[in-house]
Amino acid sequence: MSDTILLNGKQIQLTIERLSREVIESINFQNTVIIGVQPRGVLLAEKIHQKILELTKIDIPFGKIDTTFHRDDFRRGKSLNAKVTEIDFLIEEKNVLLMDDVLFTGRTIRAALDALLSFGRPHKIELLVLIDRRFNRELPIQPDFMGDVVDTIEKVDVEVQWAEKDGEDRVVFIKAKE
């Protein structure tokens, strides 16, 4: 199969707007922080953080977390370069809204939870993802907020591409390598 566009730039903008409004409806602004999962979840988290700021004029504390040293596929999967973790606020007793671009097996989010707990004990952690690949989960992890659901075979990659990194905002199926 060839690469197929699942969401184009306009659709992604609409989805981000909807997710931002869902978050605004359901969170306690006094006690919430947003944390994006490195590398590509941070780009989504920045956009949602910005949209919430536009809509509410409230600047929620924003951070980034890297999962490299907490992954369970170290020495099994491809080797990764660690990215920056930036959490310049306390997460103790806070509601953490964790954001990633694609939820696939759940292992990255498991590693992110492990990494987050190095910073303290949040009151609650919720997960927001742009794309949920719902039939590929290997751990009991589900999103609280999701942009879109896709059903794909395991060999197909679902990639969220951003204008600042890839030249265009879009979500694509990348064809399987035989």
Partner: protein
């Protein structure tokens, strides 16, 4: 690039610039980890590391051990003074016996130059050289470079002086290789008896005037006078050495600028450096110690990462 080119870290001479940059970049992430409330990651939880110290060490040994614990590795500690080495066992036999217990990595300090290289050619485990005689001490050079970068930024074109007992110093040699590879301008300063002949071939300047050298440099890395390795007299007395080559407050006050002071430790206070300089705001000696843990975590992490990529 996200992998080392080598299976071992024997010396800086054998690492390329990309390796050095990768280690320093990865160390930044580990420095963040060791400053978190929970200073531990599970990354090396199924890795066993043997620390073989055939020579005395405080800082390096504790630093490696702490780095291993922060990475959740299992650790075996060995020191020759309380081992079968005293009964005549060879280095290779000692190490092979330890490897039979399924050890993945050896961190070794030895008084013989080339000991780590010798082992790396004969055993399968990763070797990290924690100092081999007067040859190299790669992780010290890496943490020195990291500490300098943290303080003065990119080292390309920066003027770095190494002052003191160059002849007996593995730190000096590793530092020269590392700094030159990172593009720094390096000068060596010390009594002519303590500067090896032909060392200019490594692309360094030589000076025997400490005041001129301090005026020239942005960073002064002061080395310990290694009395334990000196079996002949290289200078008349420690007092005379301190007078001509020791860093003191008066010397620094004469400069029309501020410089960064470093020392790999342990310090002979009052000989190569006085207490008021070692403990001053210009000194980053304790930063070096903190950075040592992060840099050693990076080295061990990247070596294990390399093994995975090769399998």
């Amino acid at each position: 690039m996200n992998q080392l080119s080598s299976k071992h870290v024997i010396g800086i001479e054998h690492l390329n610039v990309d390796d050095i940059q990768l280690i320093l970049k990865t160390a930044t992430q580990f420095k963040d980890i060791i400053n978190r409330p929970i200073k531990k990651v599970p990354t090396l939880r199924d890795i066993t590391v043997a620390n073989l110290f055939f020579e005395n060490s405080t800082r390096t040994r504790i630093s490696f051990e702490l780095a291993q614990k922060r990475l959740s590795a299992d650790i075996i500690n060995f020191s020759s003074s309380s081992s079968s080495v005293k009964k005549g066992e060879t280095l290779l036999d000692t190490v092979n016996n330890i490897l039979s217990m399924k050890v993945d990595m050896i961190v070794m300090r030895h008084s013989s130059p080339g000991a780590a290289h010798y082992l790396s050619e004969r055993i399968g485990a990763h070797i990290v050289n924690a100092g081999d005689g007067t040859h190299e001490h790669p992780t010290q050079a890496l943490l020195d470079a990291y500490s300098m970068q943290e303080k003065i930024g990119d080292l390309k074109g920066k003027k770095i002086a190494i002052i003191g007992d160059i002849m007996h110093s593995r730190v000096a040699l590793s530092n020269i290789f590392c700094l030159k590879k990172l593009g720094a301008d390096v000068a060596l300063c010390g009594p002519s008896t303590l500067i090896p002949k032909h060392i200019e071939a490594l692309g360094v300047h030589i000076s025997h005037n400490v005041d001129e050298t301090l005026q020239w440099c942005e960073v002064a890395n002061v080395l310990r006078i290694q009395l334990e390795r000196q079996n002949t007299k290289y200078f008349p007395s420690l007092r005379e050495y301190a007078l001509y080559f020791g860093l003191n407050k008066q010397r620094l006050e004469k400069l029309q600028k501020e410089i960064v002071i470093m020392h790999p430790g342990p310090i002979n206070r009052g000989v190569e450096i006085t207490s008021d300089v070692a403990d001053s705001e210009h000194s980053i000696i304790l930063d070096q110690v903190e950075n040592g843990v992060a840099v050693r975590m990076a080295v061990m992490y990247l070596l294990v990462n390399k093994q995975q990529a090769d399998n």
